[in-house]
Amino acid sequence: MSATGRRRVSQWAVVNILVIAYALFPVWWIIALSFKEPSTLTDGNFIPTDWTWENYRGIFQTSEFTRALINSIGIALISTVIAVVLGTMAAYAVARLRFPGKSLLIGMSLLIAMFPPISLVSPLFNIERIIGIFDTWTGLIIPYMTFSLPLAIYTLSAFFREIPWDLEKAAKVDGATPAQAFRLVIAPLAAPGVFTTAILVFIFCWNDFLFAISLTSTSAARTVPAAIAFFTGSSQFAQPTGSIAAAAVVITIPIIVFVLLFQRRIVAGLTSGAVKG
């Protein structure tokens, strides 16, 4: 390799390392905190001197955290399934069928995705108390539809537009029944898009904080992001720093795993759907 070539490589290496450091710096800090001994939590060291699992053991012993984790997983999964099923139906129609009102549907879902959640909090707070779904899973799944459904419709219709639907016809010409054509040709083509959309929707539901603190009052439906804001130390005077850090790391792991496994698809989904809730 020539000298200039080597220099270019090392320049890019520096740039890449800078970007990666930028992305992972705060993540590392919360991980470091979560592994610190309670006595060294306040030493401000960037790397823990004594590594310990104590904070993790602590949070998994309290129902405050485990219950919130179950709520988070349950609520995010149910919201994702509803949004993806309804979104798939609508997106299929948008990509495949001729009918007036299509662009209205897309425009509407986009506007709704931009809706300020605080504007929904005060009316929903009252409605949910009156009909008795305040502080329940249903009470959170309903407002999650406001961002998950538009996101699903948007991302899915972008994916479905790319599918070569003529293959279905070709399969039928070759003697496949409609069911076979769907199962062997269309479903495998559509599955990656549906799957990616599901991951994106799940991440958005997992991320929500405002609805989760506003529309819950006990651990019955409080999700992890809301629960950690209410964490208290093991004694009245202890700061819950270690517990918060450990809980934060636990709910970050699934996201990191998704990102590592499916990054290419997530990028495709984000830029074609391009809706940030």
């Binding site: 800090w29 007036p100 662009s103 300020p116 504007s119 005060s122 830029t271």
Partner: protein
């Protein structure tokens, strides 16, 4: 939005005029509406109905401690909000945070997008790394920043002169809120811009180079104009999103020291002051602000109206 995507294959145009529809076309129409109906009904039920109800609540004097005494008071809640210095301070803070963070994100996002576009190796790794801030729960990132900047627990606070607690002073706290917001959302901006960069034809850039344009000239005179639609869409999304800022402020400062956004103000009026009437008035005002921003973008800057690009259908 697909303005930034390379292809948007147009579906066949709907039949023009009053030509009677064939039976097949009518059936297709009906099937299309039926498939969309559940999604439309759910979206309207979860947004349109509550916002109408919020308007109704905002016209009431409604203290949650005394729900029996609720009564119709016309626009006086709006009068109370608009004549309160808290509203204007929160609005100013929100606008300031929105403008600064979106501007910084645009510059940083471009830099990141160019790195991902041009890097001669390691593009995949960089892309994976920047997806982490995007995907991470905002509250988690906010806690990380909060601990980092708090004296005693923080490595960043340790770098400052001793005794300084940046999160307890107005301007430093606002700066740190912007930092947290920028860190979290720049990757999204960068990915949208990256999709836009892919649309700039390599030949055009090379032709400009042959004609003697320098790197900066090529960027500002060729790349940026060609990417205008992608840039405007990214700006629109991020501006509307930044205007709703809540999580970062709630965790970092809880809105103390004059750092509360309008969303924080609405939340406090509802859950601390327990005033549903005033809280709803703030909700409606925030909704109007967001609608105004979207309208301004579309009219003034010509950002393609949602759905318009699929247009003419």
């Amino acid at each position: 939005m697909t303005q930034s995507a390379p292809t948007a294959p147009q579906d066949a145009q709907a039949p023009k005029g009053n030509r009677p529809l064939s039976e097949g076309a009518r059936q297709e129409r009906r099937l299309g509406w039926m498939l969309c109906a559940p999604a439309v009904i759910v979206m309207l039920a979860v947004t349109a109905y509550p916002i109408v109800y919020a308007v109704y609540l905002s016209l009431q004097r409604y203290d949650l401690r005394f729900p029996q005494q609720a009564e119709f008071v016309g626009l006086s809640n709006y009068g109370a909000v608009l004549s309160s210095e808290f509203w204007w301070e929160a609005l100013w803070v929100t606008v300031f945070i929105t403008l600064v963070s979106v501007a910084v994100e645009l510059v940083l996002g471009f830099a990141l997008a160019l790195v991902m576009h041009r890097a001669i190796f390691g593009r995949g790794t960089v892309r994976t790394a920047i997806l982490v801030p995007y995907g991470i729960v905002t509250v988690v990132a906010a806690y990380s920043w909060q601990y980092a900047w708090t004296p005693d627990t923080g490595y960043l606070a340790a770098l400052l002169p001793s005794g300084s607690a940046p999160l307890t002073e107005h301007w430093p706290a606002i700066g740190l809120i912007i930092l947290a917001e920028v860190w979290k959302t720049t990757p999204f901006m960068a990915l949208l811009l990256l999709a836009g960069l892919a649309l700039v034809p390599e030949e055009t850039l090379r032709a400009a180079q042959v004609d003697g344009a320098g790197a900066w000239q090529r960027f500002f005179l060729v790349t940026v104009p060609l990417m205008k639609p992608a840039i405007l869409v990214a700006l629109l999304f991020r501006t509307l999103d930044a205007f709703r800022i809540f999580d970062n402020i709630y965790i970092l400062t809880s809105g103390a020291h004059g750092t509360g956004s309008v969303s924080i103000l609405g939340y406090d009026n509802l859950f601390t002051a327990l005033n549903l009437g005033i809280g709803s008035a703030i909700s409606v005002l925030i909704f109007l602000c967001v609608a105004l921003i979207a309208f301004a973008f579309i009219k003034l800057f010509g950002a393609a109206a949602p759905g318009a690009q699929e247009g003419g259908r």
